[in-house]
């Protein structure tokens, strides 16, 4: 494959692996309004799925993140959640605390 073909191939691959799910969501939502029980049920499934995705990003992360320690990633997410709960649901503060702890543990461990 030429470089242009490779680029197009990867870009289309990404599209084909994701977009049909969005289309299916539009298609199957057509008979329901937002307060329908089916939509509430699907919303609960979405929430559980994203939570599961977060766990996978923590336990088996892609890219350079996979070269960091699992313990640093776990401590970071626990810290972030605790700060969020203790600091009146301040996401920015919780996120900063999580990243800071992550950096501290990674620099200490390496």
């Amino acid at each position: 494959m030429t470089e242009t073909q490779t680029i197009l191939f990867l870009v289309i691959l990404g599209f084909l692996a994701t977009e049909p799910w969005r289309w299916l969501g539009v298609f199957l939502s057509k008979d329901y309004d937002e307060d329908h029980e089916v939509i509430k049920y699907v919303r609960a499934i979405s929430t559980a799925l994203i939570a599961a995705l977060v766990m996978r990003l923590i336990f088996s992360p892609p890219g350079v993140l996979s070269q960091t320690e699992l313990s640093s990633r776990l401590i970071a997410i626990v810290t972030a959640m605790l700060v969020y709960l203790l600091a009146k649901q301040n996401i920015l503060l919780a996120l900063s605390a999580g990243i800071l702890v992550f950096l501290m543990f990674e620099s200490a461990l390496v």
């Binding site: 799910w21 539009v26 499934i45 350079v64």
Partner: protein, 234 residues
Amino acid sequence: MKKKLIIAGAKSAFALPGIILMITFFAFGAMVRALEFPLAVGIGLTLSTFAIPSQIVLLDEISRGTAVITTMIAITLTAVRLFPMTMSLMPILRTPSTPRWQQYALSHFIAVSVWVQSMFSLPSLKRQDRIPFYLAHCLTIISLTVATTIAGFYIAQSLPPLYLAAALMITPLYFFLSLFHTATRKAEKYAFLFGTALAIPMMSQIPDYALILAGLIGGSMAYFLDRLLNRDRK
């Protein structure tokens, strides 16, 4: 009136979720460079896919030499989330007169960050105001993420890997916090807990299907538990 809405939607892209996304796509741009893919792959994937975990996994797998078909299956399975997310957002977003083709087009921007943000901000808007606000938000976000993908590609080489890892670490932390923040109903709080708890053992047993099963089982448990508890109260 419309103008105000569009400005408000665009502005909302510069709030915390937008800034987080920009950092994430900066890290993605850096990853494109580090794995020796051309910049066009980074920009193209951001535009065509717009789901950062899928984009990262795609390049990661291809660069490790994983077979294309295996990679495709892995991403498709991870991207299943986009289906219930779209299905639950669309009834909030559309008006009774929104044409079907517009709904399909609008769904392209649905990703975790946009979903969480929209679930939070759209319900407080008048129904006819939701699409202009959403579209302005999404178009601003996607422009900014393309810009930061490019910036990451060119700048990140001079950054130590630890900082790039930290930038990638923002994604799970932010998804986790904002998901919990948006989960205002009881059923969603339960779903958050069950999804988290089920994913961990499932990943080691059945890695390919862990996400789907944790989502389906965790979400079902949460929904029916909530119904059961509500029925008892009445």
